[in-house]
Structures are given as structure tokens and as C-alpha cells.
Amino acid sequence: MITCELFRSRFTPGTDDVEVLEHLRACENCFAFAAQADADMLFRGIGGGEMIPPGGVDAFVSDVMREVHLRSTEKIASHPKFGWARRLAVAATLAAAVAGTLYYPRQQRVTPVQTTASVQPATSAMTRPVIEKYDSDTATIVEMPTEGAEDVKVVMIFDERLPADL
């Protein structure tokens, strides 16, 4: 095997010199020296100069893709289309839908107040105001206090939208 001095004098990036490559595989210091000058020396040094697989790259890729397809097919074939969990989920959904459809009208009956929300309860009429509704957003309505239930009731309406010549 050649010496380190001879190696470094004969070494050039991309060299195929058999003695140089032999020294490269044996000497760590010279390997580091060569890697700084030519990173590809790492592969050539370990005999990896020829990276083309047997039969060519296309054949290699085809083999890999065929394996991938085979694994995918095996996975699908190993699981049935409708498992028991999926069937149970479908049945539960159907049951919930049927039960919900039948139960919905009952829910409507439970909440009759929704259709009568604008109507005041009869009991609240005890305190029902003289003016229940007035068609103006800007009006101020003041109901004067009375001395008794049979006393004259006076209500003042202050509304800037009223005509000026009342």
C-alpha cells in the first residue's frame, strides 16, 4: 500500500487510481483529507461507485411499485367491506332517526308557550297598563297614580312625532 505522502501527492478528485483508492479505504486521516476535496470519494472508497441496480433503474422502480400495490391489496382484502362496527353504527343511526321523528311532535306539545309568547297571562292583567301598545319609538308614556281602582285614570303621552297644531 502506498504511503500517506504518496497518496496525497497522487490524489485528484474523481480519481480511479486503484492504489489511491486502496489507501483511502485503509487510512482514516487520508480519507478525511480526500472527503474535503471530493465528497464522492466516500462512495468510491467503499466500493459504491456503481449505484445502478441490476436490471436498471426502471426495473427496480417497477419492482418497488409492484410491492407497494401488493401490500395495499392485502390490506383491503384482510378487512371486509362492512365490518360489524360499521353495521352497528348504521343501525343505531337509523334507530335514532326513527325515534327522533316520532318524538318531535311530542316536544312541540310540551312547549305551547312558544305560540302564545306575545300574549300576557290573565293573572298579569291585574296590573295591566292603560296603554298596552303605542305606535311610536320616541314616545314617553306616563301613567299618573290613582287613589283607587275606580278613580279617573290619567295617562300622558309625550311624543315629538305628534302634529305641532294639535
Binding site: 316520532l102 305560540t115 297571562p121 292603560v130 285614570k153 290619567v154 294639535l166
Partner: protein, 222 residues
């Protein structure tokens, strides 16, 4: 697989059956009430306090019907209350007076026909009153009404329901209008609750310090 499907079907049927059997298990009965004179939604308010904790009701506006679900003994009480509620429309006599009010210097001017309410009107700081017309209308619940008054004023309204609890009647959409250049201009529009036999004074003005006001003196009687 067949066993699983059968089990799922059984569970579904069990849920549906439980929903149907619920009312029967509680001993509830269903009864519809169709109204001739009153509105079903207002009847629902009347009987709300009569329902038991399990009782429910459903309003069908298209047929003016109230469908009540409750215990049989409770339905009897509800039926009696609704029969009384859906009675013949109550006759109402409505008196309307329109008064123009102003603030003037000097002695107060109060016409003879307004003496009965003059003391109350003075409270409002108006010392000059003018009677713009009056009308007495014989009507009944649910009936529309119209009053032509002097100085081009006119009142349109609808008599609502008489409430025996408060002894009051509702006057719905009372609209006071005034003729202006061959057209009716709306002055005010309101819905009122008038206690039977009690005089009500509505004084409308633009602001608290305004010198002019229009007053409606209204009384409803049975």
C-alpha cells in the same frame, strides 16, 4: 350477521314503542277544544295554570283549536273553564270625547260638558279646554268601530276581549286621524285596556312644556 341485524332492529323498535307508550303509561288523555268566539292562543294562557305537571297543550291556529293532553280528572276542570271562557261576546258601551287643551293667561275656560273631568285635566296644567266632539257607541267583543268627531277628527278601533278578572276591555289599534287636504293624517295609534266604569284620560302632547295637547276621555261600560 343476521343476528346482529335482528338485534339492531329490536333496539330500534323498543325505542319507538317506548315513545308511544309513554302517554298511556302516565294515564293521560287527549281532548281537542275548538273555539267559536275566542282565540285558541289566548285560551291557552287562561288554562295554563290549570294544567298538571304532566299536562301539555298544542295550538292549531288553522282550526282555532286547542288540543290538551292531561289526566282525565284535570281535563274536566279545563273543559269547564274553557266553556265559560268561550261564551257569547260581551256587549260593550264605549264613550269617547275628544278635547283640545291649551295654556292661556287669565281665567280658565272649561266648557260645561267637561266639568266632570275638569279637576283632573287641571292637574295637567292646561287651563283652556275645548270639546272637539263626543260619541257613544254600542258594540261588543271582537267588533270594529269608527267615530266621526268634529274638526275633521276620526277614530277607528276594534273592541278586544273583556277580561272578567280585571273587569277591563281591550280597545285594539285605536287610531286617531285628522282630515288634512282631503286626506286622513294619523295623529296617534295605540292599544288600550279600559277598566269597565272608569273614566280614562289620554293626554297627548309633543313635549312636557308644549302649550297644546289633545286629550281623549274614554269610558267603557257593559
Amino acid at each position: 350477521m343476521t343476528r346482529r341485524i335482528a338485534l339492531s332492529l329490536f333496539l330500534a323498535l323498543a325505542m319507538c314503542g317506548a315513545a308511544f307508550a309513554d302517554d298511556a303509561a302516565k294515564g293521560l288523555s287527549v281532548r281537542p277544544f275548538q273555539f267559536k268566539h275566542k282565540e285558541a292562543d289566548k285560551a291557552a294562557v287562561i288554562i295554563k295554570s290549570l294544567l298538571s305537571s304532566e299536562g301539555t297543550m298544542n295550538i292549531q291556529p288553522a282550526t282555532n283549536t286547542l288540543v290538551v293532553t292531561d289526566r282525565a280528572e284535570n281535563l274536566k276542570t279545563i273543559a269547564a273553564a274553557l266553556a265559560q271562557y268561550d261564551g257569547e261576546p260581551v256587549a260593550i258601551q264605549l264613550s269617547v270625547r275628544l278635547v283640545s287643551a291649551g295654556r292661556v293667561e287669565g281665567a280658565a275656560r272649561v266648557p260645561e260638558e267637561l266639568k266632570d273631568v275638569a279637576a283632573k285635566l287641571r292637574m295637567l296644567q292646561y287651563n283652556s279646554l275645548e270639546n272637539l266632539g263626543s260619541a257613544n257607541i254600542d258594540t261588543r267583543e271582537g267588533q270594529p268601530g269608527m267615530v266621526e268627531l268634529e274638526h275633521g277628527y276620526r277614530a277607528d278601533f276594534k273592541i278586544g276581549e273583556y277580561d272578567p278578572v280585571t273587569k277591563s276591555v281591550q280597545v285594539i289599534d285605536f287610531k286617531l286621524s285628522r282630515a288634512q287636504k282631503d286626506q286622513l293624517a294619523e295623529v296617534l295609534k295605540t292599544t288600550l285596556n279600559l277598566r269597565i266604569g272608569v273614566t280614562h284620560i289620554l293626554a297627548a302632547t309633543r313635549a312636557a312644556g308644549s302649550d297644546r295637547a289633545v286629550m281623549l276621555v274614554m269610558t267603557a261600560k257593559r
